[in-house]
Symmetry: C2
DNA sequence: CCTTGACTTAAAGTTAACTTTAAGTGATAT
DNA sequence: ATATCACTTAAAGTTAACTTTAAGTCAAGG
């Protein structure tokens, strides 16, 4: 089965322009053409899946390109590609942990507003907050946004 | 206790320029000045914490600003602020779920490389993959990057 | 035959979130 | 007293990741 750029874009939830941009940046190395028109095959979907995964977990386009270039080298780059994947796995794990932390923080704020709304005012919240077990004065967690070099 | 912009920047893991930029964008509404110099007080830290939380969970600066403007209105905006917090909580939950999904995907790729490296080649991986229980041909999950309007 | 719609390119434009620069102020250390 | 920091502003510059535009090709339907 083969697909047009529009169909693939639809499947991935992006626009055809975005896919053309990825192609231009070298992220779609083995997509065929017929009369100049891109024709996506089922065999391209394994790569589209992993591309989607790397992109949606905040790997920059440039780093994804590095990965693509390594893949083009074949077996000799297996180890390097493995390292990139392990690094990205680590990034994902850290991002999940961060988000779980911020979830607790926002749930505290949710409680804050629920309580204030019941009262009709947030004037007395300073007092109330001391009785909430989530109220503590940790440091501000540092911004640890991943840079992927 | 009071702090300079440099100290606060250090605590938050950003540069002083970034904090000045936030101030310019109206994200630091009640920071005092002495001789034109910003003086952060302990009382500012509650807001710095929530700012940090919203920012690091991908709420755009503009949306954070909206939230700040609502907060300035006092009790009359409690409900609207509550809605923003609930919405952001939802975003965080969705982002965690997405990341968990991509974690499974990348762990599959990790297994792929471990196996290929043992073999010294990825030539036979198509065959091997069929025996891995994680190998399935779901749709490509759509990009559901949150826009926060 | 001609219109419609989906595809093509190269190049310019957009947006968010900073970051840098240039010029200046003011307290502290030598 | 002078050099060195850390602070200040306004404005210009940067970067990533698209997005839009303009001009064109091509196959299918009425």
């Amino acid at each position: 089965m083969s697909y047009t750029i529009g169909q693939v874009a639809e499947m991935m939830g992006v626009t055809p322009s975005t896919l053309r941009y990825y192609d231009q940046e070298g992220l779609l190395p083995k997509v065929n053409r017929v009369n100049g028109i891109r024709v996506f095959e089922d065999s391209d979907f394994a790569w589209l899946r992993i591309l989607n995964c790397l992109k949606n977990t905040n790997m920059p386009i440039k780093k994804i390109k590095e990965y693509v270039e390594l893949a083009k080298l074949g077996d000799s780059s297996l180890k390097e590609r493995y390292e990139i994947i392990k690094e990205q796995k680590q990034n994902i794990l850290e991002q999940i942990e961060q988000f779980k932390y911020y979830l607790r923080e926002i749930e505290f704020k949710e409680w804050y507003y629920e309580t204030a709304i019941k009262e009709g005012t947030e004037k007395n919240m300073m007092e109330k907050m001391k009785n909430n077990p989530s109220f503590d004065l940790d440091e501000i967690p540092k911004n640890t946004k991943l840079k992927n070099k």
